[in-house]
């Protein structure tokens, strides 16, 4: 199908984008890479009256290392972030998750900020943001505010952003030195949305016990979710295949997936148990190698 008619305005600066959005919200929508919004418009599931195109706002396209964080401008293309030396050095789990985010032609256009602001519960980047405790910077007419990832995702395609606020930057904390990580996903085709995806970060103390652990899943609920009980089962414990297997089983019980066209809820739980175990094993291997 074809999109319904709308009025198109291209912003050339961030200030202009913010004021255009304030002027036209809530009928006006920001257009980032358009790799989710335009399909919804083609289906007429979305019929914004105004589109404020951000694709010429070059001040929102950057990857910077700032105080042990990687700050990524919201309009940075996913393929640029994937190639970024700063990203692969400080948050390699993000580089890996980006490899799973759509296909090359989608990532050339799709943006880091767009994926987060769209908040598809099966998308990879929201799960990574949650696992790492990223900070999302929003800007509206009232100025800027910082929203922690755990407060950002409210429901399917729903975030803490106000209708007149733009996501302008995401700050991913660098992985602690010596931390291991893994991003694993099961999908029908490479590049499709996850049936289940798992982001894991794990660090060891001097005596080899688990000192820090973070587990976030996508595809298993209305938002990306932290598996807090599974994390608790691993924290402070001496790692073993049995401990990680048990954590996978706990994670499968604490999530609440839906059944849909792609997979039943029971299947998603099974896959989650397996992927959490594998992700912990891989993150642990990397943590040992990194010591």
């Amino acid at each position: 199908m074809k999109p319904a008619a709308f009025t198109y305005v291209a912003a050339s600066t961030l200030d202009q984008a913010v004021s255009l959005l304030a002027q036209h919200a809530p009928e006006g929508k920001p257009l980032a890479g358009g790799q989710s919004l335009i399909p919804m418009m083609n289906f007429r599931l979305a019929q914004p009256r105004y589109l404020i195109d951000l694709n010429r706002v070059s001040e929102l396209m950057y990857v910077r290392e700032v105080d042990a964080m990687v700050a990524i401008g919201a309009m940075t293309r996913q393929s640029e972030a994937q190639r970024s030396e700063v990203v692969s050095r400080l948050v390699p789990i993000l580089s890996e998750a980006l490899r799973w985010t759509g296909h090359a032609a989608i990532r050339h256009r799709g943006t880091v900020g767009g994926s987060l602001a769209h908040a598809d519960p099966a998308a990879e980047l929201p799960a990574v943001a949650l696992a790492l405790g990223a900070e999302l910077v929003a800007q509206g007419p009232a100025g800027r505010r910082v929203i922690p990832a755990e407060e950002f995702f409210l429901g399917p395609l729903s975030t803490a952003l106000g209708p007149d606020e733009l996501l302008v930057e995401v700050r991913f904390p660098a992985l602690p030195s010596g931390a291991g990580w893994a991003f694993l996903e099961l999908s029908r085709r490479h590049g499709d949305f996850a049936i289940v995806g798992v982001a894991a970060v794990l660090a060891l103390s001097g005596d080899g016990r688990v000192d820090q652990v973070s587990l976030a899943l996508c595809g298993v609920g209305p938002t990306p979710v932290r598996a807090h009980r599974a994390e608790a089962a691993v924290l402070g414990v001496e790692p073993s295949e049995g401990v990680f297997r048990e954590a996978g089983e706990i994670a499968a019980q604490e999530i609440d997936p839906d059944s849909d066209l792609h997979a039943s809820a029971a299947y998603r739980r099974r896959v989650a148990a397996v992927l959490v175990r594998r992700a912990l094993v891989e993150a642990h291997r990397r943590a040992r190698e990194g010591r």
């Binding site: 008619a5 198109y8 291209a10 358009g34 790799q35 335009i38 418009m41 083609n42 195109d53 090359a104």
Partner: protein, 161 residues
């Protein structure tokens, strides 16, 4: 009222000036206004990859870009692959290895493979399969397409020696 915009684009080396409605997709602009019907529209929501074109040097789905957004851009469509009546080695390999059946996915497959081979001139079969995962083919079962891309990579390596 639908608003209209004047745009300038270069497609396969030819400059065009046009006026487009905001909601006109780049794919429809290429097909209907420029008559470049090699770009195929399959799903119109970014899943099938048939409408892949190269926009400022990078593959994109032309059903997921509005024509107005391409103002000032340099675009290559499948029509731009051949030179002086000579097929591109990828096109020849698709023909020779029977990577084409009904032909609907072919323009997207070719441009996807074109970009991929520029970055990975000697790809493994697995890497090829990952690279074309975003392009659906309902005829070939992909095997002949993978073989065609391998063949093209080999021929292009010889040609560049």
């Amino acid at each position: 009222m639908a608003d209209r915009h004047a745009i300038n684009v270069t497609v396969n080396g030819v400059r065009y000036e046009a006026t487009v409605e905001s909601r006109l997709l780049l794919a429809d602009f290429l097909r209907d206004q420029l008559g470049l019907v090699g770009t195929h529209l399959g799903c119109e929501h970014g899943v099938c990859g048939a409408c892949t074109v190269i926009l400022d040097g990078r593959t994109v789905r032309s059903c997921l870009v509005f024509a107005v957004q391409a103002d000032g851009a340099d675009i290559m469509t499948v029509e731009g692959l051949s030179r002086d009546g000579q097929l591109h080695p990828l096109q020849e390999a698709f023909r020779d290895k029977q990577g084409v059946q009904c032909g609907f996915c072919t323009p997207g497959m070719l441009l996807c493979a074109y970009e991929f081979l520029q970055e990975h001139p000697q790809p493994s079969e697995e890497a090829i399969r990952e690279a074309i995962a975003g392009n659906l083919c309902r005829c070939t079962g992909y095997q002949f397409i993978v073989e065609a891309i391998q063949e093209a990579a080999a021929r292009m390596a010889v040609a560049s020696r």
